[in-house]
Symmetry: C2
Subunit: 351 residues, 2 copies
């Protein structure tokens, strides 16, 4: 690889500032490998919507398709009615670029404070479906505002969509030490979708005899994340359940401020998109206090995805070293003070 042609969507709130730190890291690891980083910024989010009424045009999508990867900060602003930017911009990106794997690793770095009393070792990955389920926008309402209003939301699940995701989860499990896949669903209530998911895990699982599997209802999964998170290795689940457990997973590993994610099109038919799990946090935007670790950690996933495994490991090591430094400072009674640029400086200096 001689060039990485990157689309950058800073987005709303703290998005642009954490993305800038992620870019500094990318510039450095790629620069030292003589890889040209081309950055093209896309003005998407609340500002653009207020100015033009546009969220994401067909022309935007066409332009984004021409990149090797997309780096996204965060989308969402209280000045825009709920659902508009989420559905017409963020979810539209995931759906139109067919990001069917939403990959969300959860790692508790040594010494990082967890709200759990005995977190034990936490190192699992959630493989969340990204293009189906209750996120299809398949719902409606009649007699709105009257006492006879009815509002529906439809979860759509296809064999095509579930299979390709489940296969990805098993392939991923094969690369990991514990080789264990947990399906999270609610098949005792959502019997039709549940049946499809279970059957698919059984069928595809049979092709991977080295991988052990188990099943948890979503309600039980939220319990085990708190009482026994070390039991998880690879979790495979639908769009909504994945949304829910990855936030809880972020919380037990020190906060969503540390959690990275990748929206993958594993077939490479369109560029994949890398973003922190956290939102735009408009209350602290522009104050240089947002933790950019989640954004920087998202570049690890990005670098792996574009075939720069060594650069990815360099960044991962720098993050780990940085988190160890934070833990040591806390242990010494002199807690590290997070500033967005300061964390960027520190990670760069370790690199």
């Amino acid at each position: 690889m001689a060039e990485l042609n990157l689309a950058v969507i800073g987005g709303d709130g703290i998005g642009p500032e954490v993305t800038e730190q992620a870019l500094r890291v990318l510039r450095k690891v790629l620069g030292s490998r003589v890889i040209t980083l081309t950055e093209t910024e896309y003005d998407l989010g609340a500002r653009r919507w207020h100015k033009t009424g546009e969220t994401l045009t067909d022309a935007d999508i066409d332009a984004l398709r021409d990149h090797d990867a997309i780096l996204l900060g965060a989308i969402g602003d209280p000045s825009v009615p709920s659902g508009i930017l989420e559905r017409e911009l963020l979810l539209r990106l995931r759906f139109s670029l067919d990001h069917y794997v939403n990959l969300r690793p959860s790692i508790l770095y040594p010494g990082v404070p967890s709200p759990l009393a005995n977190p034990d070792e936490i190192d699992f990955v959630v493989v969340r479906e990204g293009t189906e389920g209750l996120y299809c926008g398949n719902g409606g309402a009649v007699r709105v505002g009257t006492e006879h209003e009815i509002a529906t939301e439809v979860s759509v699940n296809t064999a095509f969509g579930v299979r390709r995701l489940v296969r990805y989860a098993f392939e991923l499990a094969m690369t990991r030490e514990h080789k264990h896949v947990t399906l999270v669903h609610k098949h005792n209530v959502l019997v039709h979708a549940g049946h499809l998911w279970r059957r698919t895990v059984e069928e595809i699982g049979a092709e991977y005899p080295e991988v052990t599997t188990d099943y948890l209802h979503i309600d039980a999964a939220t319990i085990f994340l708190v009482t026994e998170p070390s039991r998880f290795d690879v979790i495979v689940t639908d769009n909504l359940f994945g949304d829910i457990i990855t936030d809880e997973a972020g919380a037990i590993t020190g906060g969503v401020g540390l959690a990275a994610s990748a929206n993958l099109n594993p077939d490479g038919a369109a560029p994949s998109m890398f973003e922190p799990v956290h939102g735009s946090a408009p209350d602290i935007a522009g104050e240089n206090v947002a933790d950019p670790i989640a954004a920087i950690a998202s570049t690890v996933l990005l670098l792996r995805y574009v075939g720069q495994a060594e650069a990815a490991e360099d960044v991962q090591r720098a993050i780990s070293a940085h988190m160890t430094m934070r833990a040591e400072a806390a242990a010494a009674g002199d807690p590290y003070r997070v500033t967005t640029t300061g964390v960027g400086d520190d990670v760069l200096s370790v690199l």
Copy 2:
């Protein structure tokens, strides 16, 4: 009240044994108040299904309607295909008796070990909708077993259903110290249902100026349950989100083995049903090791509901005293050993 005409459904797994301890407690507190307790057992669950193929007949439902209240142990057994007992028995009970309020208090008793490092004070109630949402059984599948399979699940939300629940939540908040209602939903994705829920909370909230309100997406709610559970007072939410957060809430307050619940028909048009949040735990059934506290705590809700507030407080005090005793034993390095009958004996002896 001279008589309490109770229907008893022990059900599956540990259901019958924990229910027996709850009944001993009821017999004692009612006996000492010269109230006759009439217990009628209903054979419902896996055994009946295997024997007769029946889950819950119209005749069963008619008979159950004639009681003042229903005490339920647990439903569910691995020998019955997933979904049958859950949907045709447990959910059918909730739906046909119009148990639209599923009330689930979460209290962390002093000294009870929580998986959280700093649980702080936890004392909130989840008001979960019980007769709509994704629990309607409104879904289906086509081309099952082929690569073209499509499975859907539909969440149905009505103004009628949401309003009566939200009103209940505000009335409940008025009886509590903090008078605070949190709506949990996902209105940035489930826009139609979300809009209905939000509007309803706004409209009904306006009638309760003393009650403060806020809103959390379900994913954020799972975070705050772990990082700041003391922020919650009354949570109002739909059927599925309520299922998920009450299990997580059980986990942070010492386990679902302690968590009680009530399926209420607040209008009194049909009897309400009281059950532990935990399931049938078939792996430990019949071994006298299941903690009956959740079942006993469900009688507190039952006694309140049938107008026996004093008896309810007696049982609540006995549970609290018992939990303090456990905490002291643990602190003294001699942890209390839970046996189903032993806990029953101990609670009775405090009563």
